[in-house]
Homo-oligomer: 524 residues x 2
C-alpha cells in the first residue's frame, strides 16, 4: 500500500482540489481484477477519428487527466490516456459506434462525485465526459416539464427552475458538482425523496445512445404513456453500463412558498422512530425531509466547523445522543407554521424531543442544513480516509447497524474508546479508527455508516467487510441505497440480490451491450 | 358483421352481466390476424398435467368460459377451452414451465376490466386467471408497505389499507373488479396520479415468474435500493407479455384526515387551463385530483342517472360548456378549507368559474365523484357501442382533439347536430353516432375521447382511425395514456413510438419470452 493519509481540502462549493500525495493505481490495489484483453488500446488512428468528429481541441484531452482518472474519494485511480468531451447527441453516437466497432472500452463520466468508483476508469478505458454537453433544451411552464442535456450541473438546473417557480425533484449534497445525467445513471436519491419520490416516477423520457451508436429518442413529456415496455427505466441506475443518457425530460414540482427547518436533540433511537411516525401524521403532506444524525456525527461537524467557520455555534446548547432535522415545504406559511407548532408542542409534551430550534429565515434554514450536509466532509477532515456504507434497512433495524459496527471495532481494539472526546486530536490515539457515525434519510429507511480512519487499511477493511453486508443482508436491507454498486461493491452484489436477479441483469447487459464496452469491471 | 347493438347492464358495483346477444369471435372480425402455428393445442395429457398440480376441481375450468373469453367492452371474443386458476407462485411457475416446454400459449388475466383487448385470448390461448391468488401477505404499519398476491381486488386492498390509516396510491373507476396484479401489468394510472405519482415510483418490489418457470423473488421493501438494473420496471405496463406478476410490494401513502370535493361549471377551455395552474398554486400540496368533463359528457350522465337514480339531481342549477371536479386531501381540515375557500373566491373574482358546489360530507363527495366516474357507462347506455380513445396530450392541445373529432363526424354527416338535445332518444336520429365526449385527468394531461354509437361500424371506424392517432402523433401525444396497447391498438403503435423504440421493445420481449408464449398477438 503506497497510499498514506493525506490532507484534503474541500471548497465551500463542494469543488475539490487534488492532493499532491500519491494515489496508487486501481490495478495495483486490486491485482485480481484483470484488464479484458478483448479491448483494443487507443492508437493514433483512433485519435485522428475522434479529432474528425470533435473539431474543438478542448474536446479531446490526452494529458493532465488526474481529475478524470481519480474518483471523488481518492480511492480509485485509472490509467485512461484519453478524455472525450462531446457536446451533442450525434457526437456521442459517432463515438460509441466507432468504439463498438473497434472494441474500445468507455466510461461515461458526469460530475465525478460518485462514491463507489463507478465513474472512473479502472484500466485505460476512454473517459466520455459529458460536462460540456450541458444546455437546457426547453421548459414547459404550465406542466413544469424540464428537458435538458446530461451535463448540466444540478445547482444550475435548480437555479433555473427556481426562477420559473419550480424545483428539481431530487436534491443532494453534491449539488454544486453532480450532473443531471449522472444522477439519472446512478438513480440519485438524496434529501427529498420522501416527498417527491424516486427518479423512476419523475423522469418522463430519456434520449439514450446505445453502444452500437443507435440513438433512441424517447424525450417524451407525458405523465401517462402506456405504449410498450418502459425501457428507459433500465437506464435509471444502470451506472453507464447500458449506453449513454444524452437527454432528460423530467417532471418538476412547484416551488413551495413556505419552507421550515427544525433541528432537535433526542434521547434515544426509539424516540426517533416515534417522532417519524408522528411527523408523518401531524405534518402530513408538507413533510419534505426527516433526517437522522447520531451524536458522534455532530461532534465531527463541530470539530470541522471550528476550523472552517469558527464564528458558527452549534444550534443547541447541549449535546444529545441523536439529532433530527425536519423540513416542511408548503404553499401557505400560516398553515405550515401552525402544523409545525402543534407537532413540536405535542412532541415535547410526549417527551420525544429534549431540545430544539426552528430557523427564522432562509439563512438560518441553510445553516441548520449545514449541520447535516457537512457530515461527510467532516468525517474526512477528522481522519484522512473514510469507509462509507450506504444502506437501506427497515427503520427499526437502522441504527443497530451502527451500534454493532462500533461494538465490533471495539472488540478488535481498532477504535478509540467512545467515551473519550472525539474532538481531541486524532493523533492522540494509537487506534486506526477515529469514529464510526450514522446519519441519513430516516424517512426513506436509508442510513449512511461512515467510518473515519487515519488511513485505509486491510486490517480495518477485513473487520468491516463482509460483516456490514452480511448484517444488511440478514435484515433484508440493501447494500447500496443510493450510491450504486460501481467497482467497489461489485464483489458484494450477492448480498442484496438473488442469483436469479443477477442472472437476469446479466442478460439485460448482454442484450444492450454485447461487446461489453460500456463501463466494464463495474456493477455486474 | 354479425354484431348488433345490444342492451348492457352494469350493476352499481361495476360488476357486469353478460348479454345474451351474440358477439363474434375476434378471429372472424380480424381475418388478417392468424393463429401462430407454432403453438400447440391443448390435449388430454395437458389437462392431466394441470390436474396434477391444481388439485382443486374449481381451479380448472373447461366450459362456460365466456366471462374469460369476452372482454369488458364486448369487443373481443377468444376461443379458449381452458382456464387455470392457480393460488400460489409455485403453481404459476409449474404451469409456465410446462407451457413453455410444450409451446402452449397463455394469457394472464386479472379482473378483465381492460379496454384494449389485452386480457382476453385471441385464439385458443390458455387463460391464466389470477383471481383466486388473492391474499394480503403483510403490511408494515410504520413504513406503509403492503405486500400482496396479484389477484386481490383494488377495493378490497383499499378497505384493508383504510383500516390501517393508509390508502392505495392509485384509484380508478374499475376498483370493484380490477386486480392489483392487472394494475401493475397495465401500469394503471387513474384518478390520483397527479398527487401520488405513477406505479413506477410506488412499487418497491415484484415477484415474477418468467415464461420458463423461473421465479424471480424481488419482493423488496426498500424505498432506496440501487443494486443493479431496475428490471421490475419492465413488468409494470408489460401487459402480461414478459411473464406473470405473482407478488407485489408497494409503498402506500398515509390516509388524509380531510378530503374536500368541489364541482364547478366553466365557460371555456381557456378558463379550465387557467384554473388548473391556479389550483396548483393555491391548493399546492393538498391537490389530489383535477378532473375535466365537457358539457356533452354530463348530458349523457344526466340521462343515464334519470333512469338509474331518478331522485338524484345534477349538482348545478344550469348547464355549462365544461365542468371541473377538484379534490383535495390533507391532514388538517381547517387549513384545507381555508385554502379551498381562498382558491374558489379568487377564481370566482377572476371569472374563471361560473357556478360551483362543495361537498359537505363524504356522501356528497362520493355523489359529486359519481358525475365524473359514471361517464363511461353513461356513454354505453346512450348507445350500445362506444369507441374509446385514451390519450395523453399537452394540456393546451387536449380539448382540440374532441373538437376536431366532432367536426370530422359532422362533415361526414355521421353525428346528430350537436345543437339538438342529447337527451332525446337515440333512435330519433338516423345518424350512427350519438355523441363524442371528452373528459379526463387534466392534471396528468390525460383525456378520454368516447364516441357513443348505436353500433360498431366500419364506416364510423374509418372516420376515426387513423385520424385520432395521426392527430395525437402530430401533437407529440400518446395514443394510450393508461389503457395500454393490447390487441386493439397494436396496429397503431408506430404513431407513438419510434422504430428504434419498437425494435428495442422487440429485443426485450425476445429476451424474456423467446418462444413468445406469453399473451401473443398483443402489444408488439
Amino acid at each position: 500500500m503506497r497510499r498514506a493519509s493525506f490532507q484534503r481540502f474541500l471548497s465551500s462549493s463542494g469543488k475539490r482540489f487534488l492532493s499532491q500525495k500519491i494515489i496508487p493505481f486501481t490495478f495495483e490495489k486490486y491485482p485480481n481484477v484483470k484488464r479484458n484483453p478483448n479491448f483494443k488500446s487507443i492508437d493514433s488512428q483512433d485519435i485522428a477519428f475522434f479529432q474528425s468528429i470533435l473539431p474543438s481541441p478542448q474536446s479531446i484531452l490526452q494529458s493532465d487527466l488526474d481529475e478524470f482518472n481519480i474518483d471523488w474519494m481518492y480511492k480509485f485511480k485509472g490509467q485512461s490516456q484519453l478524455v472525450l468531451k462531446p457536446t451533442s447527441t450525434i457526437q456521442v453516437s459517432q463515438i460509441l459506434k466507432y468504439c463498438n466497432e473497434k472494441n474500445l472500452a468507455l466510461v461515461p463520466q458526469g460530475g465525478n462525485t460518485g462514491l463507489v468508483g463507478g465513474g472512473v476508469p479502472i484500466f485505460d478505458e476512454i473517459v466520455l465526459s459529458l460536462k460540456n454537453f450541458n444546455k437546457i433544451r426547453s421548459f414547459d411552464e404550465i406542466n413544469g416539464i424540464l428537458k435538458c442535456d446530461p451535463g448540466i450541473i444540478l445547482q444550475d438546473a435548480q437555479e433555473f427552475l427556481a426562477s420559473k417557480g419550480y424545483i428539481f425533484p431530487i436534491d443532494l449534497g453534491a449539488k454544486g458538482s453532480c450532473q443531471i445525467g449522472g444522477m439519472v445513471g446512478t438513480n440519485a436519491g438524496g434529501l427529498r425523496l420522501l416527498r417527491y419520490g424516486p427518479l423512476h416516477g419523475s423522469i418522463l423520457g430519456l434520449e439514450v445512445v446505445l453502444p452500437d451508436g443507435t440513438i433512441i429518442d424517447g424525450m417524451h413529456s407525458l405523465r401517462k404513456d402506456n405504449t410498450g415496455y418502459d425501457y428507459k427505466q433500465l437506464f435509471i441506475g444502470s451506472e453507464g453500463t447500458l449506453g449513454v443518457v444524452t437527454g432528460i425530460s423530467v417532471a418538476t414540482p412547484i416551488k413551495s412558498n413556505s419552507v421550515q427547518v427544525a433541528f432537535m436533540g433526542i434521547k434515544d433511537y426509539s424516540s426517533a422512530m416515534k417522532l417519524y411516525v408522528k411527523a408523518k401524521q401531524d405534518l402530513g403532506e408538507i413533510l419534505s425531509a426527516f433526517e437522522f444524525m447520531d451524536g458522534q456525527s455532530q461532534e465531527f461537524v463541530k470539530k470541522y466547523r471550528s476550523t472552517t467557520s469558527p464564528s458558527i455555534t452549534f444550534p443547541l446548547e447541549e449535546s444529545y445522543p441523536y439529532y433530527i432535522l425536519i423540513e416542511t415545504s408548503g404553499s401557505n406559511k400560516d398553515h405550515d407554521q401552525s402544523k409545525m407548532e402543534t407537532f413540536l408542542e405535542t412532541a415535547m409534551e410526549n417527551e420525544l424531543i429534549e431540545d430544539g430550534t426552528i430557523a427564522q429565515d432562509s439563512n438560518e434554514a441553510h445553516e441548520l442544513w449545514n449541520w447535516r450536509e457537512l457530515i461527510p466532509e467532516s468525517c474526512q477532515l477528522n481522519g484522512g480516509s473514510v469507509y462509507k456504507y450506504d444502506i437501506s434497512l427497515p427503520i427499526r433495524d437502522m441504527y443497530s447497524l451502527i451500534e454493532e459496527t462500533n461494538k465490533r471495532l471495539q472488540e478488535q481494539s481498532l477504535i478509540a474508546d467512545s467515551s473519550s472526546s472525539p474532538s481531541s486530536s486524532s493523533s492522540s490515539s494509537s487506534k486506526p479508527v477515529i469514529g464510526a457515525v450514522g446519519f441519513g434519510h430516516m424517512g426513506d429507511g436509508n442510513i449512511h455508516l461512515n467510518i473515519a480512519t487515519k488511513q485505509y487499511s486491510k486490517e480495518v477493511e477485513s473487520v468491516l467487510e463482509p460483516f456490514v453486508y452480511e448484517f444488511v443482508s440478514s435484515k433484508n436491507g440493501s447494500i447500496s441505497a443510493e450510491h450504486g454498486i460501481g467497482f467497489q461493491k461489485k464483489p458484494y452484489l450477492t448480498y442484496g440480490r438473488s442469483k436469479e436477479e443477477i442472472q437476469l441483469n446479466r442478460q439485460i447487459k448482454n442484450l444492450f451491450d454485447p461487446k461489453g464496452i460500456m463501463n466494464p469491471y463495474k456493477l455486474l
